[in-house]
């Protein structure tokens, strides 16, 4: 459990991963499913049609109204929680470390509520993949899978999503990425959303992304592409650059809101405990 301290794990046990939508899992779990099922929790009535199980006829309604109505019950379902880590070269360092720990915390919460958790490292392809695991006992395996995600390569989220194995049942995809790639983020996010019931983006940003500590004549080298940008930097220019970055982040958040995608800005300077126990609960991601 090197990723997360025991104290945090203890506090995470009391949390659950909230879903904004209901999905259809393959196994009975602890989440309400869109399928009306076999739980004891009444959901609704509907007219009887031939072929319906007669055990679910509501005889009280028949006695009062002389009409055949079928009782529908909530069916509790499990979910597939997919922890998708951007492991491109731009995530190298503190951003990937922070993303691993955050993913571990959310995965740990999900495992505690009978969700199945998968881990995948995505760059321009699927770099690593850990199949779904269920139960708290699988936490170690999930953590190991997270630690096995290593940075490298360029970002091509759309292509990586194409190669990612489809999951059965309803799922929630949690993408941990800095979203620093040339393509407009809308298309790959749409594609990812189409394959999952729910998508939440954790936009991981390091201080070097917001306001790099450079000055004077510098040659900026892109960690992914090796592209070089000569610059003569002064404080005024950094101020303007920071404003540009904030505008870009705001635009991505707007896009996510418009597509119905959950969005959380994750600065790596924020303590993980504060993010998980305060901000994510406040944002309704965890409950």
């Amino acid at each position: 459990m090197a990723l997360l301290p025991p104290e945090l794990l203890a506090r995470l046990e009391r949390l659950s991963l909230r879903s904004r939508k209901r999905g259809a899992g393959v196994r009975a779990g602890e989440r309400a499913s869109v399928r009306r099922g076999r739980s004891q929790e009444f959901a609704d009535h509907r007219p009887y049609v031939p072929g319906d199980d007669l055990r679910f006829l509501d005889w009280h309604v028949y006695g009062r109204l002389d009409a055949l109505w079928i009782k529908l019950f909530e069916e509790e379902d499990d979910r597939v929680v997919q922890l998708l880590l951007d492991c491109s070269a731009s995530m190298k360092g503190e951003k990937l470390d922070y993303a691993r720990r955050l993913a571990a915390a959310i995965g740990f919460v999900a495992l505690g509520h009978a969700d199945r958790v998968t881990v995948a490292g995505l760059s321009d392809a699927v770099q690593s993949y850990a199949p779904p695991r269920r139960g708290r006992n699988a936490a170690s395996a999930v953590f190991e899978a997270l630690e096995a995600v290593h940075p490298g390569g360029a970002t091509d989220l759309g292509r990586a999503v194409e190669g990612y194995p489809r999951q059965r049942g309803s799922g929630i995809a949690l993408l941990f990425s800095d979203l620093l790639y040339a393509e407009e983020p809308e298309r790959p996010l749409r594609r990812l959303l189409a394959r999952n019931r729910e998508l939440h983006v954790f936009h991981v940003l390091a201080p070097v992304d917001l306001r790099p500590a450079v000055s004077g004549d510098v040659l900026l080298v892109d960690a992914e592409t090796g592209e070089q940008v000569p610059l003569s930097v002064d404080e005024a220019m950094l101020d303007r650059y920071e404003a540009t970055v904030h505008a870009w982040v705001d635009a991505i958040e707007q896009t996510c809101r418009r597509l119905g995608i959950g969005y959380t800005r994750v600065p790596t300077t924020m303590p993980l405990e504060d993010l998980v126990l305060r901000d994510l609960r406040w944002a309704g991601v965890l409950g």
């Binding site: 790639y181 070097v208 992304d209 004549d217 040659l219 080298v221 960690a223 940008v229 610059l231 650059y241």
Partner: protein, 499 residues
């Protein structure tokens, strides 16, 4: 563009090491960032917002290159070879002859010409200069070359038409000689064209512009007027009048002669262009007074030359007394019909005879006393003369004489031979009018309100009586002694326009 020293451009080669040194100096620190994606986006917007940002970053290099460029140009000394208009030099020739006083153009041709000249002055640029030449009876540079337009304007406004014939040719010649001396001079002539044919004037490199003034050329004028004694009737006089038409067509005119406003002569004449017509009017000797000659030509545009005047003196007989004179002298004095000569021997001279004469000539004997206020001539170093004579001077050589003295008019003294003369010790208040190396030969002057003419030699001891000069001198003396004017002058005439 050309360069005076093209080798100086080689200095521009220093730009190569300059840029190389700049590039070598500009070693940037490599900084790896997660992505340059946002930087490129940022830089694109930066360049759109501040298009000169990239130049600002290389401002130092650009300034160095600019300094090198300027230094290179300075060494190469660039110049442009182009046609640049130089400052103009204009000579304004203003005709101020009498014809410019014509009023066919209001107020006068001269004012109109001056106005045209002012326009030419106004058109001058700041660096242009102009000179004003006035071509009247005499040619005069009124304003030398100047850029002061005010000075030229003032001079143009001050010009008046003269009353005499002008010489536009002289003015033009002066302007053209100025043009030859300076080169590229423009000559603007403002005239009514009365200067005659000027085509023979060599223009050289000068650019001549003629600004005509006046609408027509109908003019006739009186060119000359004189009064002479009639050769056929001693006491009558003849009036000479010369008139001329100046237009291009013949003019019919009438010449009228008035004496004290009484018409005494009338002629109708056809005046051909540039052909003077000489007219003679006989005037009886009894007439005297103001003679006015009027030329009347219909359509004449210049009235100033249509009238002329002279004063005709009344014919007065002069009583001349010759004392002790010889025959030659007596004959010479009686040549003038206006002279009533009386001769008397010096011994028989009485004061009453002297009193009765207008002029007394003493040719021998002794000059009596008591002549103060009288008018007389002493023809020789006689005793009793107001002049005190000294020793005899043999063959004195004439050095000079007062040509303008009324007594000496029309007389040549340079080859007069005098055998003996007397030196003058005391001029007695007279002034020498003929000088020789031995002293004055003739003296004249006024004494006590009278006039005295004194010869320092005996005329018979010279060849003077054999010369035409002798009667002329005597008659001149009669005129001067009697009236103070030359006897041959019958009228006082002044040329028009003459000062």
């Amino acid at each position: 563009m050309s360069f005076a020293t093209p080798l100086g451009l080689l200095l521009g080669a220093l730009a190569v090491p300059l840029v190389a040194m700049y590039l070598l100096k500009l070693r940037r620190r490599r900084v790896e960032v997660p992505s340059t994606l946002l930087w490129q986006t940022f830089l694109r917007s930066e360049r759109l917002a501040t298009p000169f940002e990239r130049f600002r970053r290389h401002l130092l290099l650009l300034l160095q290159l600019l300094a090198l460029l300027l230094l290179t140009l300075a060494f190469a000394r660039p110049y442009l070879q182009t046609d640049v208009p130089l400052a103009r030099s204009v000579v304004l020739v203003l005709d101020t002859s009498a014809s410019m006083g014509a009023t066919d153009v209001r107020p006068t041709r001269l004012k109109e010409a001056a106005s045209q000249a002012r326009q030419a002055v106004d058109a001058l640029g700041p660096a242009d200069e102009a000179m004003l030449v006035v071509a009247g009876p005499s040619t005069e540079v009124r304003v030398p070359f100047t850029r002061d337009k005010g000075k030229l304007d003032a001079a143009l406004g001050a010009q008046t038409a003269s009353e005499a014939e002008g010489s536009l040719r002289d003015g033009l010649q002066l302007a053209l000689s100025m043009a030859r001396a300076r080169g590229g001079v423009e000559v603007d002539v403002f005239s009514d064209g009365g200067g005659g044919d000027l085509h023979d004037l060599p223009l050289g490199r000068a650019r001549l512009r003629y600004v005509p003034v006046g609408r027509g050329d109908t003019n006739a004028g009186i060119l000359a007027l004189d009064l002479r004694r009639s050769p056929v009737a001693d006491l009558d006089r003849e009036l000479f009048v010369t008139v001329e038409g100046f237009g291009r067509a013949p003019l019919d005119g009438t010449v009228e002669v008035y004496v004290d406003d009484a018409l005494v002569g009338l002629r109708n004449e056809t005046l051909q262009p540039d052909a003077p017509v000489h007219l003679v009017f006989d005037l009886p000797g009894t007439l005297s007074g103001q003679v006015r000659v009027k030329l009347d030509v219909p359509g004449d545009q210049l009235a100033d030359d249509d009238e002329a005047w002279l004063v005709m003196s009344p014919l007065t007989l002069r009583r001349v007394l010759l004392v002790g004179g010889d025959a030659l002298t007596a004959r010479a004095l009686s040549a003038d019909p206006r002279v009533r000569l009386t001769t008397v021997a010096s011994a028989d001279l009485t004061p009453s005879q002297v009193e009765a004469a207008d002029v007394v000539f003493f040719a021998g004997g002794t000059v009596p006393s008591g002549l103060t206020g009288r008018r007389y001539a002493i023809l020789g170093p006689l005793s009793g003369s107001p002049v005190r004579f000294g020793d005899e001077v043999k063959v004195p050589k004439v050095l000079g004489w007062e040509r303008t003295h009324p007594v000496l008019r029309f007389v040549q003294w340079d080859d007069v031979v005098v055998a003996r003369a007397r030196s003058v010790l005391d001029k007695g208040g007279l002034v020498p009018i003929v000088d020789s190396d031995g002293g004055p030969l003739v003296l004249a002057g006024e004494i006590g309100g009278g006039r005295v003419l004194q010869l320092a030699f005996d005329p018979l001891e010279s060849d003077l009586p054999l010369r035409v000069a002798w009667p002329v001198t005597l008659l001149n003396a009669v005129g001067w002694l009697s009236e103070g004017a030359a006897g041959s002058q019958d009228a006082l005439a002044v040329a028009t326009g003459a000062p």
